[in-house]
């Protein structure tokens, strides 16, 4: 008899894993900690490198799960214990306050990431200054039309807030902030053509198909000004913000008045990622991202047989790669589902 599969996390990676399994006539239990599917993509206005609206794309993905009779979605739920072995796991789930026991053949972990709250960056004034926001907050401002009030204004985008920072953040590069900051600047220029966009960067890491061209288009066709130098300070000055940095290309300190400052905050592991790793018996790296069985050859296998990994719970990833991992994890788990 065919075994059920358990997918933990209903973001874009988990959705794709669940749909792929359901399409192969497997029964899937999808555990989602929140009251809705979609995860971090719910906070996205548009995708890159094609500027498609993110919400219609996500709705299409959600409906594939919601309309699927092979998928049992458990909202407001979390996995509380796992025992047994590959092909024969016994799982306890807290479903909205009630404990439910299930037997599954394979588990796919797709718990995603968290945007770091840059509270330690007092030099940028986050949470102290009104017009200093995170990239996640900025996406919502694009969706609800709040950015429209920045006509004829200067908007500054700050790379690497919490990434590449051993002291206040993480040593790693969050990899996609370069491209999403270009997306943010482009969205500003499209929605509010009279606004000026400035991006401060250390170096530009456009690590995907079409990303380099996407960023160059922002610079060359939309006139987004890129200045090489990490922002040093954001100071409240009368009714505006003063952004201080060094233009390292000429070696001069530089200042700029800004009306809005957007911090590209790091993508970090979920706060409870290590607790879940304990429950599942899988390894994490030092940060709390889940560790692959072999980094090049086994990107979706966890350290434990029968438990697979998908999406940004393994490292900061873009949508495209999370989708691919979700489908790959589904495919590999089939051999444990009978």
């Amino acid at each position: 008899m065919s075994k059920k599969a358990l997918v933990i996390g209903g973001g874009i990676a988990g959705i794709n894993a669940a749909v792929e399994l359901a399409n192969n006539d497997k029964l899937v239990i999808l555990v989602e900690k929140n009251g809705e599917l979609g995860g971090n993509v719910n906070d996205m206005a548009a995708t890159f490198p094609e500027l498609d609206e993110a919400q219609p794309l996500l709705d299409e993905q959600k409906s594939k799960v919601e309309d699927n009779e092979n998928i049992d979605i458990k909202f407001n739920s979390e996995v509380i214990s796992v025992s047994g072995k590959a092909g024969d796991f016994k799982v306890e789930i807290n479903e909205d306050g009630n404990t439910v026991a299930e037997e599954v053949g394979a588990i796919i972990v797709a718990t995603g990431f968290n945007y770091m709250e840059p509270n330690d960056y007092s030099e940028y004034g986050y949470s102290r200054l009104d017009n200093v926001v995170t990239s996640q907050e900025y996406e919502r401002m694009v969706m609800n039309g709040d950015i429209k009030k920045y006509s004829n204004s200067n908007v500054v985008f700050v790379h690497c807030v919490g990434s590449r920072d051993r002291v206040k953040g993480y040593r790693y590069c969050s990899k996609i902030c370069c491209t999403y900051s270009a997306k943010h600047a482009l969205l500003l220029k499209q929605e509010v053509p009279s606004a000026n966009a400035f991006v401060f960067y250390i170096d530009i890491r456009a690590l995907g198909k079409g990303y380099e061209e996407f960023i160059r288009d922002a610079i060359e066709d939309y006139g987004v000004r890129y200045i090489r130098g990490r922002v040093s300070k954001v100071i409240n000055k009368e009714d505006t913000l003063l952004v201080k940095a060094e233009n390292s290309l000429i070696g001069n300190p530089v200042e700029l008045n800004a009306d809005l400052v957007v911090l590209a905050s790091a993508m970090e592991p979920q706060k409870d990622s290590k607790e879940l790793a304990e429950i599942l018996g899988i390894e994490t790296d030092d940060y709390g991202f889940y560790k692959e069985a072999q980094s090049n050859m086994e990107p979706v296998k966890s350290s434990k047989e029968g438990i697979f990994l998908a999406g940004s719970c393994t490292a900061p990833l873009e949508i495209r790669e999370s989708v691919a991992m979700g489908k790959a994890a589904a495919s590999e788990s089939l051999s444990f589902l009978g």
Binding site: N154, N196, F198, R216, I219, E220, G223, R225, I227, R228, N247, L249, I250, N252, P253, V254, E255, L256, N257
Partner: protein, 128 residues
Amino acid sequence: MLYKIGSDQKKNRILQKIKSSGNDNLNQCLQCYKCGGMCQKSDKFDYTPRQILEQIIDGLEESILNSRAIWICETCNECKIDCPVAINFKKIMASLREIAREEGIEPNTEEVNRKFVKKAHCPKKEDD
């Protein structure tokens, strides 16, 4: 030296002049540093070509027009030939010398390319 970035490019006189003299691809510069590495004269420059370009974009007029580099440039055109986005730096340098002369700025180096001295009274005739 600390400088402030203005948001209005129209007020950036030097950028407008450089653009109107046929250099409209300044923002394609990748800041890859190839020009500064290959230039025969760049060890005598105060700013390498890409550094001058960055200053034009931010309108640092005084610093550019008083630089040695604009007079030392050999106009060999090698930097354009090997530039990955084909920025015509020879032409940019010619425009900068022209603007400097209009402003009454004299070369501040002994290393001036002799071609420019000869043509000092007739700057318009400088080779394109």
